[in-house]
């Protein structure tokens, strides 16, 4: 009886400790979770339910993480690959995307494997660069200015793409007059040389992004 009461007491104490942490995480992350959920909803609306499911799943995973439900993932270590191995695998991926039949099963496998690996690596909090405690005020201002201006560029791109998408909806003539970005890039990707360049840029860009914010 006493054990049951102390267990209940421990559970309540844990909940009291956890609730502010969950609220703090949600206050910090809600904007990014909302972006993923809105984007997932839009993908479903535009008739791409699989794309939508990926964005919604990512948003749901971040929500579950903010609630502390996925903390056990951090227990598992990821193997580290030597840089030479990463370069060989990246080159191999670019070659498959370039030379395999376009939109075939090989593309599906390569993009899925790279995506799943990248998500697993990005999820981990290993070797993160810590925010300096005594940061120069001018550097803080420069960072804030940069964040605002890059956000303006991103939002402008999204709004321009969205307006093109809706203006292109009524007919093929409207699509010709208001081409979304995909319509402009698809002919480049259809060409093997353009596809090789795009695949290389994608792989290198992903590798660069995964290194950002980490000491190693």
């Amino acid at each position: 009886m006493a054990d049951g009461r102390s267990e209940e007491h421990r559970r309540q104490a844990r909940a009291v400790r956890t609730r502010p942490a969950v609220a703090a995480r949600l206050r910090r992350d809600w904007w990014w979770i909302a972006i993923l959920l809105i984007c997932g909803g839009f993908q479903i609306y535009r008739g791409a339910p699989i794309d939508g499911a990926f964005f919604l799943a990512a948003g749901a995973a971040l929500l579950a993480d903010a609630a502390g439900l996925l903390s056990s993932i951090a227990r598992y270590r990821l193997p580290r690959l030597h840089l030479i191995v990463q370069i060989v695998l990246g080159t191999f991926a670019v070659a498959i995307i370039t030379f395999a039949p376009q939109f075939g099963i090989a593309d599906l496998v390569v993009v899925s494997v790279i995506g799943a690996t990248a998500i697993l690596v990005a999820w981990r909090d290993d070797d993160l660069v810590e925010e300096p405690k005594d940061e120069d005020a001018s550097l803080r201002r420069a960072l804030r200015r940069s964040a605002i201006l890059w956000s303006v560029a991103g939002v402008a791109l999204c709004l321009w793409e969205l307006s093109s998408f809706f203006l292109a909806m009524p007919s093929p003539q409207a699509e010709l007059a208001h081409p979304p970005l995909s319509d402009l890039i698809d002919p480049i990707v259809a060409n093997p040389f353009g596809r090789a360049l795009c695949a290389a840029a994608w792989v290198l860009g992903g590798a660069m992004l995964l290194r950002r914010g980490r000491r190693s």
């Binding site: 910090r28 992350d29 990014w32 979770i33 993923l36 984007c39 008739g47 794309d51 964005f55 990512a58 995973a61 971040l62 903010a66 995307i97 376009q102 939109f103 593309d107 599906l108 993009v111 790279i114 995506g115 990248a118 998500i119 990005a122 999820w123 909090d125 993160l128 660069v129 810590e130 925010e131 001018s138 550097l139 420069a142 200015r145 940069s146 964040a147 201006l149 890059w150 560029a153 402008a156 321009w160 093929p172 007059a177 208001h178 081409p179 970005l181 995909s182 319509d183 402009l184 698809d186 990707v189 596809r195 695949a199 994608w202 992903g206 992004l209 995964l210 950002r212 914010g213 980490r214």
Partner: protein, 72 residues
């Protein structure tokens, strides 16, 4: 004409991004370089996952899913 305006809009946003990247590199005390900004924001798991999901989706969209045929 509408097609040219639409394309010029995308080009203008691309040029704006290039100018930001160049100016951040040149005057880092006024505008933090894009890499420094990424280093700071990517410290958060939510930001990392959001950016990586968008990056991954680009390949899914352009390499895996065939474009829908234009409606007649």
């Amino acid at each position: 004409m509408s097609r040219i305006i639409t394309i010029l809009g995308f080009v203008a946003i691309g040029v704006f991004a290039l100018v930001l990247a160049w100016y951040g590199h040149r005057e880092s005390r006024r505008l933090a370089p894009f890499g420094t900004l990424l280093d700071r924001v990517m410290a958060s798991r939510a930001v990392r996952i959001t950016i990586i999901v968008f990056w991954w989706w680009l390949a899914w969209h352009f390499f895996v899913v065939a474009p829908a045929p234009a409606a007649s």
